[in-house]
């Protein structure tokens, strides 16, 4: 159980929440995630990355985009409400060390999980280049926080409504082409973005980490639902990840698996809508 301490809407579909979770705040490290449910009896368990933590307040920050039933329900929680299930921190923490220069790429909601990793990389003494991008200006999150952390920051939007009109892969390529190319790339965002970021860095031989957010049930190494093909082998995001070598991940398969329930979800929304119409119509 975790109380909502603070809630802020960052854009049309994106929300930031601070949840009371002193143990998780104490133990969590950059790169880890939590699982939550909005209803303990019938709710789905969904993984969300920890964007920040405050040990003094005993809280963690999550940033999420409304994409389905559970994230919608969560967005309806307000300060003082109780999230019935919150478990974590899960997954292996990011390996942090002084690599030299690190380029971090965050796309859309992926900027949130990139934040604590960028923080830790900066603290470890790395030269930090950040590229953050979104479809359009109002979907861009954490601009101030990321600007503060970065030695260099590049902001882009797909539609050019803010910053540079470009996909994140364009500035990433330019950075890779520099005389002193980065020692490490970390890219977090939609699977397609991560796939193309990995393809961008591959010819330059830059080690590239991606953080995967697959479908999960238990998140503790029991069900195997989160498996992905990495270098031809089945790996489990919850206990082997969430970070993997982006050059070895089979993104196409991962994207297909992420869509496993898309048809069912659409159907269930339609059913619920019809149900609602029936109820209202009957009144």
């Amino acid at each position: 159980m975790a109380k909502v301490l603070f809630k802020k809407q960052l854009s049309k579909d994106v929300f930031l929440m601070r949840l009371e979770a002193p143990l998780i705040a104490e133990e969590r490290k950059a790169g880890q995630f939590i699982i939550l449910q909005t209803n303990e009896d019938i709710g789905e368990r969904i993984p969300l990355t920890i964007a920040d933590a405050d040990q003094k307040e005993g809280s963690i920050t999550i940033i999420f985009q409304v994409v389905g039933k559970t994230t919608y329900d969560l967005s309806q929680f307000n300060k003082g409400d109780i999230v019935p299930t919150l478990v974590g921190p899960l997954g292996k923490p990011t390996h942090i060390e002084k690599y030299g220069s690190v380029v971090g790429v965050g796309g859309g909601i992926g900027i949130a999980p990139l934040h604590p990793i960028a923080q830790a990389m900066k603290e470890a003494g790395n030269y930090l280049i950040l590229i953050i991008g979104a479809r359009t200006k109002e979907l861009l999150i954490l601009e101030d926080e990321m600007t503060r952390l970065a030695d260099e920051i590049i902001i882009c939007t797909d539609d050019g409504s803010y910053g540079r009109k470009a996909l994140v892969t364009e500035p990433l390529k330019e950075i890779c082409e520099r005389d002193k190319k980065p020692d490490l790339a970390i890219t977090i965002g939609p699977p397609v973005m991560m796939k193309y970021c990995a393809e961008t860095t591959r010819p330059f031989g830059i080690h590239t980490l991606v953080s995967l957010n697959t479908i999960m049930v238990d998140g503790t190494g029991m069900c195997g639902g989160c498996r992905v093909n990495v270098d031809g082998k089945a790996k489990f995001v919850c206990v082997d990840g969430p970070e993997f070598d982006g050059h070895k991940v089979d993104f196409d398969n991962m994207i297909a698996r992420l869509n496993s329930y898309k048809e069912l979800e659409a159907e269930s929304h339609r059913c619920r809508l019809e149900e609602e119409i029936k109820i209202r119509g009957g009144r």
């Binding site: 368990r45 299930t85 503790t220 190494g221 639902g225 059913c271």
Partner: protein
């Protein structure tokens, strides 16, 4: 086996009971041998294909007393040696003959704290019922006394009276013991350690308690209210429970002792990551581990479509790979979720199947097709990455292997295609890596199972382990047996440092 409904079974039993009751104290072994084995009343197979309710309905009183009369009350009592927790089986059975169910349950509970679970899911035919003198005399293990059904009968009787006895707890010692995982092993340790007056806390990673009995074993085989009852008893004894707490992540294992003041820890985290076949196409959409499929259906209630938020795949043609109880559970769940055809694909024959006979029989009654001496070679997907078929190979049995079972040998060029849209892999589990990953001091074997000594103690002082995390995938009762041993060790450890 032709299906008889409960009323027919009860009427037959009642008639016989009246015949035998007046002479119950004079019955000779040869008389007892003539009493017919009492069949378990069960839900009509056609009806139960579309509900999640318990299949086996439990003996009626008449059936239980009659079945109890079949026990020869033999001198050497081989059944007790066959029971992993050594219940005094002939004695509790004698009390059933005499209608003294309270005494019967008291005897069982002396050594088995979860009788309503064990009575349902123990593989009695390879434990207590295997050496049964009656079964031996009748030259058929299936005709042994139905000890498990009788155990279930008295456990259910106690629950239905509404007066489940709460074990006595000794005065508080103030010593804290942490139990990691609320599966069968953990629950047993919690009860046994709490009885000595220690302050026991169970840490569970999930939002609900019971471990594999909740997420794995389906409602139709072990209803949730049975598990709830056992947990309620523990809570009434004063056992504390913390859910959504992953030891190894939310708290490091050793921190439980170093920071949180626990004097001893029991690790019962159960089986871990599901094994896959390692064949082409296994990551296609529509391939599931049995763990995932069952967890979605059971724990996450995806069976209740339209109620639960967790989705479950819609399948028409399902292949389940494997021949154990988990494979049976997954296949039977798929039927209940509306699959038109469910095939169990197993590379040996029915004789070698590790699943309980009763489960196999139930599965057959429910229309599941068994494909023996076949196995998957590769999984074929459509253009969107979804399963559309499975290429299989045929096998024949060769020489016995290390396990004593005849080894399946592939028949060359025997490939054929099976059209399926869903494949559920139920070929076992590896160990859970979470605690060993974050506690390098803890010694594990090459499969990742925690190494323990004969007292269930791990390589770290004050830390004990038991159940599937030690055994690999085993049974509820074996996990409980390990739990009992660990509890004795923990109680001994804490007693010795009293002064």
């Amino acid at each position: 086996m032709s299906f008889k409904n409960k009323i027919e079974l009860v009427n037959e039993a009642r008639e016989l009971l009246y015949k035998y009751l007046p002479v119950k104290d004079e019955l000779k072994p040869k008389d007892r041998m003539t009493i017919p084995l009492q069949e378990m009343p069960s839900q009509d197979p056609i009806v139960r294909r579309s509900n999640l309710e318990e299949v086996a309905l439990g003996y009626t009183e008449e059936q239980a007393r009659l079945e109890a009369m079949r026990c020869l009350q033999c001198k050497n009592k081989p059944c007790i040696a066959g029971c992993p927790v050594a219940i005094d089986i002939p004695l509790f059975i004698q009390h059933i003959v005499n209608c003294d169910y309270q005494s019967a349950i008291d005897i069982i509970k002396k050594t088995n704290l979860l009788p309503s679970i064990c009575g349902r899911v123990c593989p009695q035919e390879v434990q207590c019922q295997l050496p049964c003198t009656l079964g031996k005399s009748l030259k058929d293990v299936d005709k042994s006394v139905s000890i498990g059904r009788l155990e279930r009968f008295v456990a259910d009787w106690e629950r239905n009276t509404g007066k489940v006895s709460i074990p006595e707890v000794k005065p508080e010692t103030g010593k804290k013991v942490a139990i990691v995982g609320s599966g069968p092993a953990g629950l047993v340790v919690a009860a046994d350690v709490r009885r000595e007056g220690h302050d026991v806390t169970i840490f569970e990673a999930f939002h609900k308690l019971g471990g594999v009995t909740r997420y794995g074993i389906p409602e139709f085989r072990l209803p949730n209210y049975v598990i709830d009852q056992e947990i309620d008893t523990l809570q009434k004894m004063g056992v504390k429970i913390v859910t959504n707490y992953v030891v190894g992540r939310t708290r490091q294992l050793l921190d439980l002792m170093n920071k949180d003041g626990f004097s001893a820890i029991f690790i019962g985290t159960g089986a871990g990551l599901p094994m896959f076949m390692g064949i082409e196409g296994e990551s296609l959409v529509g391939v599931f581990s049995a763990n995932e499929y069952l967890t979605r259906a059971n724990l996450m209630r995806a069976y209740e479509r339209g109620v639960a938020d967790t989705p479950i795949y819609k399948s028409k043609q399902v292949a389940v790979l494997g021949g154990g109880n988990v494979a049976m559970d997954a296949a039977r769940m798929a039927v209940r979720l509306g699959a038109e055809n469910v095939y169990v694909v197993y590379r040996r024959t029915e004789v070698e199947m590790p699943a309980r006979k009763e489960e196999v029989a139930h599965a057959k009654e429910e229309g599941i097709e068994f494909h023996f001496l076949q196995n998957a070679k590769k999984i074929i997907g459509d253009e969107t990455g979804k399963v559309k078929a499975m290429e299989c190979l045929r096998y024949q049995l060769g020489e016995p292997d290390d396990s004593g079972r005849r080894r399946p040998v592939v028949i060359p060029n025997s490939e054929f295609i099976m059209e399926v849209d869903t494949i559920i892999v139920a070929i076992g589990n590896n160990s859970n890596p979470l605690i060993s990953q974050t506690t390098p001091e803890l010694k594990v074997n090459k499969w990742g199972n925690i190494i323990v000594d004969e007292n269930q103690k791990t390589s770290i002082e004050r830390i004990y382990a038991g159940g599937d995390i030690v055994l690999g995938a085993a049974t509820v009762i074996l996990a409980m047996g390990e739990g009992r041993r660990a509890a004795v060790s923990i109680n001994e450890l804490l007693k010795n440092e009293k002064e």
